[in-house]
Structures are given as structure tokens and as C-alpha cells.
Amino acid sequence: MIVAVFIADSRQELVFQYLVSSDLPGYKSLRNRIQTMAPTLAAEPQAGKASVGRSMEVYKHVSPNGLAFWCATKPGPTTPGAKHPGVGHPAEPLVFLQTLETLLLHYFDKDQLSVAKIRNNYDRVTMLVYSMLDAGEPANVDLGRLQEMVPLRRDLAKVVNATASSLGKRLTQGDSHALFALPNVQGVSLPTEKSVPWRTAGLVFADNELYVDATETVNAVFRRSTHGARDRTRCVSAFLEGTIDFNSHLTGDPTVLVRLDLSGHKLAVPALHRCVDTQGTDFHASRLRFVPPDGKFRLMRYVVDLTPGTAPASHQHSRALANLGLVVPELQSALGANRDEFEVTLDIAPSTTVSAVDNVQVALHFPQLPSGARVKALRTTHGRFENSVDNRDALWLLDKTTSTGTRPVLRACIENSADDTTTTTTTATTLRVSYAHKGLLPSGIKVDAVDIVAGLPSTIKPFKGVKYLVKTGDFVLR
């Protein structure tokens, strides 16, 4: 049973708190308790759980921008046969916190939740949490339903912005007739019967639009092994994590069919939003048929395993490389006259759809170097090289955009100390590469079509948009 919800910022200062009773400890006393009883959980940006006292557990979830979501639970009755007082499902509180985060993001229609946003909307966030929880159980986590209960304030600034943008849109479209039409963003919801529990009934929009964001995160580990003169790289494990997010504002109760080109991948058991009909006989991951909830939601999350445990190693390597995206790192050591230099090469493949890769970074990690030794960059074709203070990490920062089809190279060595110019033959132990780009998914998965097969008046032609994003997770060469 969840008795308290807290949101804290990255400096561990309280941003928001919700307590169901006045005799519960507030954030400050709870934080002190956590710091003494579970210091690891309190200190780092670490998520997890800890027990504070006999009858209270705290759970922590960290959002990508560093906000910490906490909740405190009290044990329910003991499950028959269990040794300890019943804490229920071990994953539930954490899933709740995750749900709360995504729900707030979708509610405020943001990509990141800022502290100011929460502070400015204390009443709304409180009411949302109040409506979500009943009897300490997450009774209602449906965004559409919560939006009905806690309508979002559309203040004047937003109306002005919406008007300006729609005017701009219409001017560029040259549609002068519609210039003075009301920029009615959200229609009046009529008290009609709901067709599906997750969709608000009777929605009417002036601008019907739907957007699909397909994102893939590249995770790969390469291992370097030195065989004779040449270094060989081998892929240890690689997988792509994909999500398809949907954002739609459509009139009525439309049925949408998203057709995906899976380009030969078998998406084994993707996680789907509950609106997708998975029970039908014609269900396939490449044909998703659903009545979308209004607004943003995550349609699908899938994993493409590029190195399945059973395939032979040589085959795995080529298959992984074929789908790993545009950037492949290489590291050559024992170069130069004294065989003490090393070279990092990024192979950014040419592409017809992607012109540039953004924010390329290579973090180099070194073994413990003798004191006074430092990494010295001899030559960089792109960007700049930064040494860290503790001398075990260095960063090669490329320009904001690096065009595809190039081969940035960094050549460096390790100098023992400032006055002594002799060098050691040590090289970096790990390279961690990160980048992002748009326009093409490494797996080759594409959204073939987004059709509205039923439920939308035929006069309405919704605006459709598809966006592909690629970013890196654990992309490591070692």
C-alpha cells in the first residue's frame, strides 16, 4: 500500500510531496532515515528499494533528467505461507513510479519534466496522484480518464501560441480561407458512451494529426584482441532497443492500422500498449491495429537481438555489424616508431538519408597510470580532446554535427610526465561511444503506412508524420 509519493531534484531537494496521512514522516525525516539505513540508495543517482524501519519500504526511480521519484509503502497483510509481512508484488511500486513519470510527461505533453513545471502545477500534480491512488493502490492509471478528472489548464499564453502557430501553418499552406477559423485545439467532449476504456468519448478536433516517433537505442559491446601485429575486434553482444511512440489527436473513435516493415527481424514478443489487439488470428508485430488513446502513448517496445546465443560466432559478428547503425569504432594500439601510440577511428558510414550524425563523443577509459603520466593527443581530425582530472578518463568530443561518410581519427599516446617525454605502451581499456541522429533506424525497420481504417469521417484527412531517431546506450569497445 503506497502511503507517500515524493519527487526530489538532482540535489535531493524536495520538489513535491504527497502524503495520505499527517502522521507519516515528511521528506526530510525520511531522507535522513534513508541516509542512515541505506546510504547507497540515498547518495547516487541510483534507483532501487530499501527498507526503512520495520513497517516501511521506500522505492526510488530516477528519470533521465535526474528527478528522483520516491514512494513509501507500508506492508499489507501477510500472504499465506510467507515469512515476512506481505509487501505484495516486488515490482509493483517501481512500476507505479515509472508509470507516474510517464503519465506526468504525457499529461503535460513534455519530453522532460522540469522542476518549475511541477512547482507551477502543484495542485494538478497533487490531484493526479490523488486520483491515481485509492486505498494506497494504483486504482486508475489511465491518462485519458485522469485528463477528464483533472483537466489541464489552457492558459492564455498557450492559446496565443497555438493561434500563432496555426496561423503560420495556414499562411505557409496558402490557405487564406481558413486563416480566421478558430484554432480550436481541443474539442468539447460530449457525454457519449465510451467505446474503449482508454479513449475519451466524443472527441472533436479541428486539426486532426498523428505522429509516429520510432526510436532505437544501440547497445553493443566489442572486444578487442591482439593477435600478432593486427588488432581484431569481435562483437561480444549487441542488441537494439526500439520504441514506437504515438501521438495523435483524432476526431471520433478511429481504428488505426500501423504497418511496419520489419526488414527481416523477428520481434519476439514486443511489449505493446493495451489498446493493440493481440488476440486476433491475424495479429503480427508488423500489423498493429488499435483504437488509439488521445494524446501521447507508447505503442510498442521491442528488442532486436543481433547476437542470439545460439548462432555461430562468425555469423553473429557480420549480422551485428550489418545492423549496428552508422558509427563503428576501432582502436589500434602499438603504433608509431616506438610502438607506443594508439589510434581511435570512427567509421561513419555514408548514407543517402542521413546527412550528419550529432553529438559524437568518445569517452576513453585508461588503466591506472603512473603518477604524473598524462594522455597526449597527437592528432585529431575532428573535434577536440579533453583530459579529466583523475587521469583515468579522457573525452574526445567531435563537433556538434559530423557528416556521414567520414572517418574521424584520434591519435594519442601516454606521456610519463611533463619533463620526461618517454612514453608507455599502455592504451585505453574501454571506449564508450555515444551519438544520435535522425532519419534512419539501424535495424532497417520502417513505418510503411499509418492508415485509419475506420471510425474517422471520410472528409477529414489527418496530417501524418513519422520520425526516426537513433541514440546510443551502452556502445562500448574494450
Partner: protein, 783 residues
């Protein structure tokens, strides 16, 4: 329209009393941050004025301020002081204000029960409001007030709302009952139980969702109440809320264990040999087998499997548990739930969820490693894994180890040992390496060589205790082939300057034990330590004393064995005895009283012919360290193994063993005949499933031949059902003839499950029709 007019009037009203402050308000409407600035300027003194204002806008501003202070955790603000001012606004017509007051009441009502009572009347009144949202909110607010004197009133209001036409209200009723039960416990159990039963048989999945939470917490042992609902619950599982799905699966797992017959395992090569599902997961003696499940169990497992596409991690874990508890490994694999679980852990987000899921996978793996063999690479440690996740991953890897994948896994583990910066992770990796060495003799040799090679590495130094422990376990399991290792160790012992005392102690201890196998090398180790005794660390000194005693005792025994006649061991002439005495002498002056004490104890053992006791004490064969994997599997071992996994206590509880019921002698599946449903939504307008997936709904498939016959009947009942939409329930019951045989009824139920499968949650109404029909049928049979 009316709304906007009232807004305009209120705006005009406020314009009358336009002051500077009002201008500020007007300005604040521009954006939320400026509103926030305005809100923050509301002084504690002016707050009561706002709260008591007649202008709803001002009341709202006041309430927002109150809630903002609550949310900001400002402990200085004495919010209790505004109790009366806040609570009187519960009568407001604005739902938002009501909700804000309810939030306040929930938190502060106990502080001032007398004042809280004042609000009860108006809250109770709004329970019969025409707006279902208000009704539901009021009920929630009322049950949130934890004042014992109120419980009879609340219970009364709850009973009144039981038959509310709106499903929202009825589900609030279920949760209100849960709150009362939590406060009052068994005192109200008699009142709550019949209401719970009614709620469970509600036709609306939303109400069932809430009722299941109530049932799970209040009556976890009264599983027999689920008899009549079991089949329907399996059917409507996809329509429940995500959280209720989790609870429902947990509940039905226990139900199945209690009331359903154990699955049978049939040997494929020899169909005549049939056994019951063994209580230990991975102990099915057949290489290839078929599973025969009770139809009801199959219904449940199918329903659970169909949810495997859910995005809710808790649900996936529960489905895994259902298959793990109720079916053999074969069904677990076929359900593809391993894939769904493995997909969950790939996310690189910072969530503690990953550890929870990994621990669940660890439990599954520890029972049958083949379940996750195909996903072994997902359990390689990534740089973004936190310590807990990494440790659990390594534990899983050590279960998944086979000769085929050992090369790859071992090289991963070695990398972790040499490069990871977290001690716990290195320790676990070392344990995993020990597991590797058990695969074969050549692996064992390889691993020992590797361990010795990297003993002085910067990273391994940090986990030296674990390191020595692993070497010790390796040598102990097969000491004979490890002479070289011991030689290597002695070299490390003397050539490594910064070896910690505990590490040294471990190695010295190892020499003491090794003396049994190869005595000749050990005295030399002791000899060299006598010279450096005083400079060794405390643990090392202790072990040196012990080593001396062990060697002496061993030497005496060796002497006795070699000499046939009863010649006395000559303490004076023995080199070892001299060394022992030297050590004792050194220990006499030790700082540590424990070492002095130990030395005296040991010296007394060798006096007055007590050597037999000495050899008994000092040469006890030591048990090899318990590894995680044992080959034999008895029930006891099973439990032991489970606790050796090092799981969090909540996960350990979550996987508490549930035994299959043994006395199902009077087993009768007819107890699961559906019971009548409560349908309060008869006044709602109907809609068909066509609105959901448009006209092109795919043709529904029937599962088997037996279903064919009932297909036409099913459509018939659906159409007749729709016809009765506007009749009252009684009329409805009295009208339909009830000659249809019972057996066919069950089939109809299953048919409608298919229908649900196709159309998921949209066709509640359709479904209700069927359910109505069934209930009516059952009722007429009772007549």
C-alpha cells in the same frame, strides 16, 4: 454554454471589487509561472479570506495555495489551522474545489476528528449527486477519513452505493471497503464479505478490478469464493486494469494450486508412463514429454499467456510465476514468457525494476537453466548496470554456464574481475569463475592458472579474500592435482609486498590443510614465516600459530605411522617441534591477547601425551565450500538453494512455495459453474463491438469441433440478449426459457472467451449480454 455564462458573471462580479490585487490576478491568468508568483504572495492572513469568499475563483485560488503548501512540504506552515475554512468548501459546486478539499481532508482529518465530523453531512449528501464523478469522489473522500466513530456511517453509505449505475462509483465502493477493512480488521469482516461477493460478481470489468484488490487483501484465504467466478475471470482478464491483472494472476495461481488437479506429464516415447508434475521444478525424468492439463488450468494459463505483450513489468513477472508454479518447463518455454522477461531487462534506464526482474529470472534459472539459455548474452554485464544488477546478472550467468558457452562467459567474467571497480561485483565474478572451473578438469586447471597469474593485479587485490577463497575451494575439491598451484601460492606469499593480512591468512590456512596431501613443502613455509612473524598482520600471525600446530600434529602422526614399534616422538630432536616452540615463544609477546591465548591453548595440546586430541582437533577434514549449484535435488536442498541465491526478502517471499492440494478426492469441476452476475448498467445505451474494430472484424475462429455445435446458439443468445437491453433485470430473467442443457452452457462461456480474445475490451456490453444469459440460466436451474 451555461458554464461559460456563469464564468462571465463571476468575472463581472470580481470586476466590481477590482483592486490592485485583483489586477495581479488578472495578470496571473496569462501563464502558469506568473500565476505561481501570484499564488506565492498570498499571505497566511489573507488565506482565510479567500477560502471564505463567495467568489468560487477566489476559493479556488485559496485551495490551490493550501494544496501547494502541502505539496511543497513546507513544515512551517500550520495548515491544520485552516481546517474549518477549508472543509466548509466541500459544499462547493466545483468538482475541482471538492477534490482539493478531499485531498486536504485525507491528510488532516485525523488531526481534528470533531471538525472533520462537520463535513460528513455534506459529503454524505453529495453521495447521491447526479454527477457520477461527484458521487465517486465523495465516497472516496468519506472513506479516506480515518475517524473510527464514522465507520458505521461510511459502511451505510457504501451499501447504498453498491447498486450505483456507474461503474466508477462501484469500484470506488470496493476500495472504500478495503480502507474500512484495513482500519477495522476482522470486526467488519462479516459486513464486508457479502459485499465483496457482490462486487466480484459485478458484470463490469472495472468493478471486478477494484473488487479483486479488496478480495486479495481482505479474504486471501477464502479462495473457495472464487469457484463461480474462475472461468469468467479468466475470460475478462485482458479487460481488467493492469494492476488488477497482476493481483488476479497472483490470486488465481493460489486458487489453481488449491482446487485444481495437478498436471500430468506423459512420456512421449512411452505414452503409458504418466506421472504427476513433480514438486521440484526440473525433475521430470522423461527426455520428451507431453503435458496434460485440467481444462480449467489450461484456460487460466492461456489467458495469462495472452497478456505477455503487456508493457507492465509486474504483469510479465506474474505471468512467469504462473507458468513456473503451475506447469512444467516445457510449457514455460512454449509460452515465450522468457523472451518477454529477457526483453524487459535490456532497458538502460535507471530503474530499480531491472534488479527485481533479474532476481526473478535468477529464481527461474536456478530451477531450470535451459529456460533462459538462449538469452545468455543479455546477462553480460554492461557498463551502465549498477552494482546490484551486475551481481545478479553474474549469478544468472553462473547458472547458465555450460561447456558450450563457457569460453565466452569465462572471458566476460575475467574482464569484469580485471576491470570493474566495485568490490561486490568482483567478488561475485570470482564465484562465477569458480563455477566455471567445475565444468571439467581442464577448465579447473585453466582457471587456477589464470587466478595465480593475476593475483597481484590492482583490481584483484581489492577482493583478495574472495580471491583466496575461490582458490581454496578449487584446491580443496581436488587437492592432488594442485601441487603446482601451491608452489605458485608460496611464491606469491613471499614475493608480494602488499598482500593484505587476510589474504595471507587465507593462503597460510590453505597450506595447513594442504599438509595432508603433500607434507614436504609446508614446513618451509612455516620456517620462512618465523623470521617475519612480528611484522605480519594480526590474521596472518594467528594462522601462522595454527599452521605450526597443524604441522606438528601431522608430523607426530606421520612419525607414528612410519615406526611400527611404540617409539616416542622425540620433541627435542624434531625440527618441527622446535619451530613450533619458536612460534609459541614469539606469540607469547604478541600484542593481541587472542593470539597469546591461542598459543597457550595449542601448546597445552601437545603436553602430557594429548597428541590424539591434538590430531583430532587440528586434522579435521574440512568441508568444501558450498557452491551455489548442487546436482542432487531433494526438497531440503531446494529450500537451502533458494536461500543461497541471495535474493531480497520481498522476492524470496514472492516465490514462497505453494504446494498442490493433496486431497482433491471429491474433485468436481462443476463447482466452477458460473454464478449469476450483477449487472447495474442496464440503463446504459448499447453499442456493438463493431465500433471497435470497424466493419472488417476478422472472422472469429472456433477452437474445436465441440464448439462448432454451439456456435449458432451463441449468436442467437447474443442477439436475444441485445433485444432485452431496455428491460428490467427481473423481466429479463423471467422471459427467457431455460431448457438449454448445462454442458452446452459451459461451451457458450468458452465461446465468448474467444470473442473477447478477438475484440479485447471494447465489447463489455456484448459480454454482459452473454453473462446475463448465463446468469439467468443458472438461476432458472436453481429454481
Amino acid at each position: 454554454m451555461v458554464d461559460s455564462i456563469s464564468r462571465i458573471t463571476s468575472a463581472l462580479e470580481s470586476a466590481k471589487e477590482m483592486t490592485l490585487e485583483a489586477a495581479a490576478i488578472a495578470q496571473s491568468k496569462l501563464g502558469e509561472s506568473s500565476y505561481q508568483r501570484y499564488s506565492q504572495r498570498i499571505s497566511p492572513q489573507s488565506l482565510p479570506n479567500l477560502l471564505n469568499s463567495r467568489n468560487p475563483r477566489e476559493v479556488k485560488d485559496g485551495m490551490k495555495r493550501v494544496v501547494s503548501v502541502m505539496a511543497s512540504g513546507d513544515e512551517g506552515a500550520a495548515l491544520e489551522g485552516y481546517f474549518a475554512d477549508v472543509v466548509k468548501n466541500i459544499t462547493s459546486n466545483d468538482v475541482k474545489i471538492k477534490r482539493l478539499v478531499a485531498v486536504y481532508l485525507q491528510r488532516f482529518a485525523e488531526r481534528d476528528p470533531n471538525l472533520a465530523l462537520l463535513s460528513i453531512n455534506s459529503i454524505q449528501k453529495s453521495i447521491s449527486d447526479s454527477n457520477p464523478e461527484v458521487r465517486s469522489l465523495s465516497l472516496k473522500a468519506l472513506s479516506d477519513i480515518r475517524v473510527p466513530a464514522l465507520y458505521p456511517i461510511i459502511l451505510h453509505s457504501i451499501k447504498k452505493s453498491m447498486t450505483d449505475a456507474c461503474a466508477d462509483v462501484r469500484s470506488t465502493v470496493a476500495l472504500a471497503l478495503l480502507k474500512i477493512y484495513r482500519e477495522q480488521g476482522d470486526e467488519v469482516a462479516d459486513d464486508v464479505l457479502p459485499l465483496t461477493q457482490d462486487l466480484l460478481s459485478d458484470a463490469d470489468p472495472q468493478v471486478v478490478s477494484a473488487a479483486i484488490l479488496l478480495f486479495k487483501e481482505a479474504f486471501p484465504k477464502k479462495l473457495e469464493l472464487l469457484h463461480g467466478h474462475f472461468r469468467r475471470f479468466c475470460e475478462i482478464l485482458p479487460q481488467l486494469s493492469e494492476w488488477a491483472q497482476v493481483s488476479m494472476i497472483e490470486l488465481l495461481i493460489r486458487y489453481c494450486k488449491e482446487f485444481l488437479p495437478r498436471p500430468q506429464i506423459i512420456d512421449s516415447s512411452n505414452p503409458s508412463s504418466v506421472i504427476l508434475l513433480p514438486s521440484l521444478y526440473n525433475t521430470i525424468p522423461f527426455a520428451i514429454y507431453d503435458v496434460s492439463l485440467d481444462p480449467d488450468l489450461e484456460l487460466f494459463l492461456d489467458a495469462a499467456r495472452n497478456l505477455r505483450h503487456s508493457a507492465n513489468a509486474a504483469l510479465i513477472v506474474s505471468i512467469g510465476k504462473a507458468f513456473f508454479y503451475l506447469s512444467p518447463p516445457l510449457s514455460f518455454k512454449n509460452s515465450k514468457i522468457s523472451t518477454a522477461l529477457a526483453n524487459l531487462i535490456t532497458t538502460s534506464e535507471q530503474t530499480g525494476l531491472k534488479v527485481v526482474i533479474l532476481q526473478c529470472i535468477l529464481v527461474f534459472c536456478s530451477r531450470d537453466p535451459t529456460l533462459f539459455q538462449a538469452y545468455i548474452k543479455r546477462f553480460f554485464v554492461f557498463p551502465s548496470d549498477d552494482a546490484m544488477a551486475a551481481v545478479t546478472k553474474i549469478k544468472i550467468l553462473s547458472f547458465l554456464l555450460t561447456l558450450q558457452n563457457a569460453k565466452e562467459v569465462a572471458s566476460e567474467i575475467k574482464f569484469i574481475i580485471l576491470n570493474d571497480s566495485r568490490d561486490t561485483v568482483i567478488q561475485e565474478a570470482l564465484n562465477a569463475l569458480a563455477m566455471c572451473s567445475r565444468l571439467s578438469q581442464s577448465w579447473s586447471n585453466h582457471i587456477t592458472r589464470w587466478l595465480l597469474k593475476y593475483m597481484g593485479n590492482e583490481n584483484t587485490m581489492r577482493a583478495m579474500d574472495a580471491y583466496v577463497n575461490v582458490i581454496r575451494s578449487l584446491i580443496q575439491t581436488d587437492p592432488k592435482s594442485h601441487l603446482n598451484t601451491m608452489m605458485g601460492l608460496s611464491e606469491i606469499l613471499f614475493n608480494h609486498e602488499n598482500l593484505s593480512a587476510t589474504a595471507k591468512a587465507g593462503i597460510i590456512w590453505l597450506f595447513g590443510e594442504f599438509s595432508e596431501i603433500e607434507f614436504s613443502i609446508c614446513p618451509d613455509v612455516l620456517r620462512r614465516f618465523i623470521q617475519t612473524f612480528s611484522s605480519e598482520g594480526r590474521e596472518a600471525r594467528m594462522q601462522i600459530v595454527l599452521l605450526a600446530a597443524k604441522l606438528l600434529s601431522r608430523d607426530i602422526d606421520n612419525f607414528k605411522n612410519s615406526e611400527e614399534d611404540d617409539k616416542e616422538y622425540d620433541f627435542g630432536a624434531s625440527r618441527l617441534s622446535q619451530m613450533f616452540n619458536a612460534v609459541l615463544y614469539l606469540a607469547k609477546f604478541d600484542d593481541d591477547f587472542d593470539i597469546r591465548d591461542r598459543a597457550r591453548l595449542l601448546s597445552s595440546l601437545f603436553e602430557n601425551n594429548r597428541q590424539v586430541i591434538a590430531s583430532l582437533l587440528l586434522q579435521v577434514p574440512k568441508v568444501a565450500p558450498v557452491g551455489m549449484k548442487t546436482t542432487e535435488s531433494s526438497e531440503m536442498d531446494d529450500i537451502m538453494q533458494f536461500s543461497a541465491l541471495g535474493l531480497d526478502s520481498d522476492i524470496e517471499d514472492y516465490f514462497t512455495r505453494i504446494e498442490w492440494s493433496v486431497n482433491l478426492g471429491e474433485y468436481d469441476s462443476s463447482v466452477r459453474e458460473p454464478v449469476p452476475l450483477k449487472d447495474y448498467s442496464r440503463l446504459k445505451t448499447s453499442f456493438s463491438s463493431k465500433t471497435y474494430f470497424g466493419s472488417s472484424t476478422p472472422e472469429r475462429t472456433t477452437k474445436g469441433v465441440s464448439h462448432e455445435s454451439s456456435f449458432s446458439q451463441n449468436t442467437l443468445t447474443t442477439t436475444t440478449g441485445r433485444k432485452y437491453k431496455l428491460q428490467s433485470l427481473d423481466e429479463f430473467f423471467s422471459d427467457v426459457p431455460a431448457e438449454k442443457p448445462k454442458v452446452k452452457r459451459i461451451v457458450v462461456e468458452e465461446e465468448s472467451s474467444n470473442e473477447d480474445d478477438d475484440t479485447e475490451t471494447s465489447d463489455d456490453e456484448d459480454d454482459e449480454d452473454d453473462d446475463d444469459d448465463v446468469s439467468e440460466d443458472a438461476e432458472s436451474e436453481n429454481d
